[in-house]
């Protein structure tokens, strides 16, 4: 070939060169190539695993889910017996994990907020106590704390037949804490419905009060009215339904207490351990959030005559929450994930049930993928909710 190009070919070559040297195009090409490789690797691993499992004649697939589980579970939120399927057993495990995570998160946020504020207290003793708590609890691994609390329940408390009864009907023993609860009556259902209506009413009242305040400047006593609605409505309903008040009081029958409500040592230890550990981290987050607001803002708010409660509600909190929420979300996720340590102290959470299932069926790969999917769902749902809340709380710039 000679060196003479027609002008058209020259332009085309240059265009091609330009196309390939364009960083944007190259980035896309590389990414597609990388994605393809990862996909190929995934496909290879999958087929290789299936082939090997087949070679060893290990059963595969999720067919086991509909087989009879034939093992008992200690604590269940739904009716479950050994005659039910593995699927139901796993559902029991999911609910148990949700139970401990839900109650744990609420208690952690309350205790953590309290501790965080206490650490900033002007009272020397309160501040130091909170500081010591936070430093100590952050530094002890959660698993050790769980073992400690679990052995606290079964080593220190007596057998059920010698249970401690600090109050009538409240029993502490190595089988857990048992306490009396009202016996079920439809009136409690009505009261719960009334509480729901109360919640709706409160939100309506708040909106109306804000609009009125914006229009006329008059302040409506929202807090006391809300409290009245939330407590008064269910109370009145309960009274109208005949005020049933029969209690289910626990009593020792056979090996254990019957009646009342009980918190098992496993659940108690897990909840205590998780809350006490995670609250230390939440406390630091809360402290950081409050300290992020400069003192000048409080002084300015005081100067325009706001009351301390108003300063907290209207000036400090809206700004502090913005700093607090994202790290708080990750602590909530940590708590949920740490709840899988329940295996160590015998609380039948999802991981515990799933690993029993894996062992009884021998299908480890399916079991592990189920565990991963379930925890992924938990984490994504928590994140979604917290992101929504974060957006709602974020400062709206005007």
């Amino acid at each position: 070939m000679d060196e003479r190009h027609s002008p058209a070919t020259a332009v085309q070559t240059r265009r091609q060169a330009a196309f390939l040297s364009d960083p944007k195009v190259r980035a896309i090409v590389y990414q597609v190539a990388a994605l393809g490789l990862v996909g190929l690797l995934g496909y290879y691993l999958f087929t290789n695993t299936v082939a090997n499992l087949h070679k060893q004649s290990i059963a595969t697939g999720f067919g086991f889910l509909t087989k009879e589980a034939s093992f008992e579970i200690g604590e269940t939120l739904i009716d479950y017996s050994a005659a039910d399927t593995y699927l139901k057993a796993l559902a029991v495990g999911v609910l148990n994990t949700l139970k401990v995570a839900f109650i744990g998160i609420i208690l952690t946020v309350i205790l953590g907020t309290f501790l965080g504020i206490a650490r900033l207290s002007t009272n020397w003793l309160v501040a130091k106590l909170a500081a010591v708590y936070i430093e100590v609890m952050q530094d002890i691994p959660i698993l050790l704390q769980l073992f400690f609390w679990y052995s606290f329940f079964y080593d220190i408390l007596p057998a059920p037949r010698e249970a401690i009864e600090p109050m009538t009907g409240l029993f502490l023993s190595n089988r857990g804490v048992v306490f009396p609860v009202p016996e079920w009556h439809p009136a409690y259902g009505y009261a719960a419905a009334a509480f729901g209506i109360g919640c709706l009413a409160v939100s309506a009242v708040r909106r109306w009060a804000r609009q009125r305040q914006e229009r006329t400047g008059r302040i409506f006593p929202v807090f006391s009215v809300s409290l009245g609605l939330l407590i008064g409505l269910p109370l009145v309903t309960w009274l109208l339904a005949g005020a049933p008040h029969r209690m289910s009081v626990p009593e020792l029958r056979g090996f254990n207490f019957q009646g009342g409500m009980s918190v098992s040592p496993e659940f108690g230890a897990l909840l205590l351990g998780l809350v006490i550990y995670t609250a230390a981290f939440v406390a630091e987050i809360v402290r950081a959030g409050i300290q992020a607001i400069s003192k000048g803002q409080t002084e300015a708010a005081m100067a325009i005559g706001l009351k301390p409660g108003q300063i907290l509600n209207l000036v400090i909190l809206p700004q502090a929450l913005r700093v607090i929420i994202p790290p708080l979300t990750s602590q909530m996720l940590n708590l949920t994930k740490n709840s899988s340590l329940a295996v160590a102290i015998g609380f039948p959470d999802f991981v515990s049930v799933a690993s029993t299932t894996m062992n009884q069926t021998g299908q480890a790969i399916e079991g592990i993928s189920l565990i991963m999917v379930v925890y992924l769902c938990f984490s994504l749902l928590t994140s979604l909710f917290m992101n929504w809340y974060n957006k709602k709380m974020a400062l709206v710039e005007r």
Binding site: S57, E72, F147, N256, T361
Partner: protein
């Protein structure tokens, strides 16, 4: 450059994942120079290190017999303590070569779990351990009891079956780590500890106050405990199988670690074949002819390992019972070594 690195890493991963199951276990073991045996680690009498750190127990000695057969040295062995939940996965994934961890032979495990069980090395049955303070006389009185049980075991299923069959209620407490489970039971967390009777004896032997506890007379299941290997590896299965059988056959032939050298001069053809004086058995298994001699010499016959692990002079004080030789009314029976 970065892309190149990524490709290299991916390539290595692909290469590695391919080798996971390649090769026969026997070849791998010979190449490694030791046998990797999955054991209990916490079960007195079956698999637990003593105070000097030396592994002791019936399952441990079974592992040693395999090492003696393969390498001529009972110490070319590595013990890997496993929980009940980990044990089968460890075997399936190739982390161990053989599982000697009081595992019950069942149809499901033999088929769906992809395992091959060798000769049973202990015939057991499930029982209940209770505190004498409860004044319970038999298992039918256990309605409403809180039961401590290891998760992922046949025990866990049997006890659920038993309570269901007798229309009784139970509350299980399942802790994966056996030591933690026993601790919880002896601290009073449960009314009953249920497991194989031999394990209950082992747990009671190390209890703070062994005399406060009793094993109920009821035995609710059959638990043939056997070593297991991966399915489909026939040569390795034969070696493991005949290592256990050799200990039984030795007892049957009256050969023990004390008299094995004299027995080499025996005129009994069965003894000559067994000890490799008349060659043939070793070649058939792919081992050398002295394999059975070495098992007896370094580890002992079945009666010896039984007595020193769980027998009358140990804290477990177990009788031979089902584990006596067939001649003495037990189930221990070996096919001819020819």
């Amino acid at each position: 450059m970065k892309l190149l690195k990524v490709c290299a890493v991916l390539g290595i991963l692909v290469a590695l994942s391919g080798t996971a199951y390649a090769g026969q276990t026997f070849d791998n073991v010979k190449a490694k120079g030791f046998v990797q045996v999955g054991v209990n680690g916490d079960l007195f009498g079956f698999g637990k290190p003593d105070e000097k750190g030396v592994w002791r127990g019936l399952d441990v000695d079974t592992g040693r017999a395999i090492a003696a057969a393969v390498f001529g040295d009972a110490n070319k062995i590595k013990f890997i303590p496993l929980t009940a939940v980990q044990r089968f996965t460890a075997l399936q994934s190739g982390e161990i070569d053989v599982l000697c961890r009081n595992a019950t032979l069942t149809l499901g495990r033999e088929t769906e779990l992809g395992l091959d069980f060798a000769q049973v090395n202990y015939y057991d049955g499930q029982g209940f351990l209770v505190s004498k303070k409860l004044k319970v006389k038999n298992a039918k009185e256990l309605d409403g009891a809180t039961v401590c049980v290891l998760p992922g075991t046949t025990t866990e299923l049997n006890v659920a079956d038993y309570f269901r069959m007798n229309k009784m209620k139970m509350k299980p407490v399942v802790i994966e780590n056996a030591a933690e489970l026993y601790k919880a039971f002896f601290a009073g967390r449960c009314d009953v500890l249920t497991s194989d009777a031999s394990q209950l004896a082992g747990a009671r032997a190390v209890a703070p106050k062994p005399d406060d506890y009793m094993i109920l007379p009821d035995i609710i299941s059959k638990e043939p405990l056997a070593p297991a290997v991966r399915h489909g590896d026939n040569q390795w299965k034969d070696i493991v199988n005949f290592s256990v059988l050799a200990m039984i056959e030795a007892e049957d032939l009256g050969i023990s670690s004390r008299n094995v050298d004299e027995m080499l001069k025996s005129t009994n053809p069965a003894v000559q074949r067994f000890l490799g004086v008349t060659p043939g058995n070793g070649k058939a298994l792919g081992l050398d002819e002295k394999w059975a001699y070495r098992i007896v010499k370094h580890v002992g016959n079945y009666g010896e390992i039984f007595e020193r692990s769980v027998g009358r002079n140990t804290p477990l004080k177990l009788e031979r019972g089902l584990n006596a030789l067939w001649k003495n009314g037990g189930l221990m029976y070996s096919p001819p070594f020819r």
